[in-house]
């Protein structure tokens, strides 16, 4: 069964081709799409590619970072201006997968994958898209919730917070095959502080629900407090709220609920 491969010079032509054909899928790095084709997914008859270099740009000079959807994890790791994203990029696949997988594609990776997306969720990412209704910037929370309906939309770029200090952004992936493999639980936290107190924390989880989600109860527990043992304990106590962890070969839902607080404490305490 063969598909038709169409390559366009510009992102907007690719977006048109994508949104006008329900059986078309965009080819980013191929790590999700080729897997589906290899498994004989007959719902895909056209593969759309774009050589538009705008999809591979990285802008670090502004207040927010902008990363083109086609940027690979290998490129993130090579980018000295993005040290806070290195832990997340390194936790994905091995060197070969990192040469292929893209930041845009990871937004669609199903649980237990999608670890970079967890980091972006904690960094208040905005997703720039082009679909049948034109260009739109969508907050990542909303994008994730509607992603099943987004396969006809082209992701152009992702923008996110540039943390003020190295300490302000933390990332941790717990996996059985380290550092890669499906995640047992992935945690990312942006913890901006003002006069020693946490304000506007964003804590994101992977593998604690069908999609990456925010740990809003834990965020509220930290608000206005210094990041001390008491605050960390309060956040860990409510970590399970709003989660519906999966049962899969990596771990049971029970296990995930048991260890979520432990890993959050280690993340917030800055432990290894």
């Amino acid at each position: 069964m063969s598909v038709s491969v169409k390559t366009f010079a510009t992102a907007s032509e690719a977006a048109s081709a994508l949104s006008s054909d329900r059986a078309a899928r965009y080819f980013g790095g191929g790590t999700l799409l080729m897997r589906a084709l290899n498994e004989g997914d007959t719902s895909i008859t056209t593969v759309v590619r774009a050589t538009d270099r705008g999809l591979n740009r990285i802008e670090t000079s502004g207040g927010r970072i902008v990363i083109g959807a086609g940027v690979t994890f290998a490129r993130i790791l090579a980018e000295r201006e993005l040290p806070f994203l290195h832990a997340a990029a390194r936790s994905i696949g091995g060197p070969a997968v990192r040469n292929m997988g893209t930041v845009g594609g990871n937004l669609f990776a199903p649980s237990p994958f999608g670890d970079f997306t967890v980091a972006l969720l904690a960094l208040d990412a905005m997703i720039s898209t082009q679909g049948s209704l034109g260009a739109r910037d969508i907050p990542i929370d909303e994008f994730l919730q509607t992603r099943e309906r987004q396969s006809g939309t082209l992701v152009l770029a992702i923008s996110c917070i540039k943390p003020a200090t190295g300490e302000a952004f933390r990332y941790r992936k717990i996996a059985r095959i380290r550092p890669k493999g499906g995640s047992l639980i992935t945690l990312a936290a942006h913890l901006p502080t003002n006069a020693g107190r946490v304000t506007g924390a964003r804590i994101a989880f992977g593998s604690m629900a069908p999609l990456p989600i925010r740990a809003r109860a834990a965020e509220r527990a930290l608000e206005g407090r210094a990041l001390d043992a008491a605050a960390i304990g309060a956040a860990a106590a409510v970590i399970g709220e709003g989660t519906s962890p999966p049962d899969n070969a990596l771990a049971s839902a029970w296990y995930r609920r048991e260890v979520a607080g432990v890993h959050l404490k280690r993340l917030l305490a800055g432990q290894e």
Binding site: F27, E39, V47, G93, P95, A96, N99
Partner: protein
């Protein structure tokens, strides 16, 4: 069935073939070119048995759209020797018991070659990172890591 012409350098040799739309590089290498050294493990990108070098960098052939290697250099284990003698990595694997069933070996060797070509004196941690995308069920990885380090240090075998 739409077929696209594809030309690329396969282990230094200019090669041309026709590929079906959506064909992956692993299928083209094995079924059309006849290069069996890249192995079929999972077709999902999880095992690394299909690791090949494209323009010197490691990629998973099972997830590569064959036509994306147009005009590029593709290296498989079949081309690792530059003469009658084994490549130092091959000799080091043989001397250090770095293969048992041998199925992961081509992928491991290509991942190791990508590392040593770029970083001739890697640390142990760098070797582990370089093969972190390759699964081995037999050796427990230690002999493989030792073999790569031995190849890097001039091929002196370790017990």
């Amino acid at each position: 069935m739409a077929k696209t012409a594809l030309q690329f350098r396969h282990n230094g040799r200019e090669t041309a073939t026709f590929v079906e739309g959506g064909a992956n590089l692993l299928m083209v290498l094995r079924d059309q070119i006849g290069d069996m050294t890249a192995k079929f493990g999972c077709a999902q990108g999880g095992c690394g048995a299909c690791t090949v070098l494209i323009d010197g960098e490691p990629y998973l052939a099972c997830l590569m759209l064959a036509e994306s290697v147009e005009g590029r250099s593709v290296e498989t284990l079949d081309g690792i020797r530059s003469g009658p003698n084994l490549h130092p990595l091959q000799r080091a694997f043989a001397d250090n018991f770095a293969a048992q069933c041998g199925y992961c070996t081509p992928g491991m060797l290509m991942a190791a070659k990508a590392l040593l070509d770029r970083n001739p004196q890697p640390s142990r941690a760098e070797v582990v990172e370089a093969i972190s995308g390759n699964i081995c069920r037999c050796t427990g990885y230690e002999p493989i890591i030792n073999a790569v380090l031995a190849a890097a240090s001039g091929g002196r075998a370790r017990a």
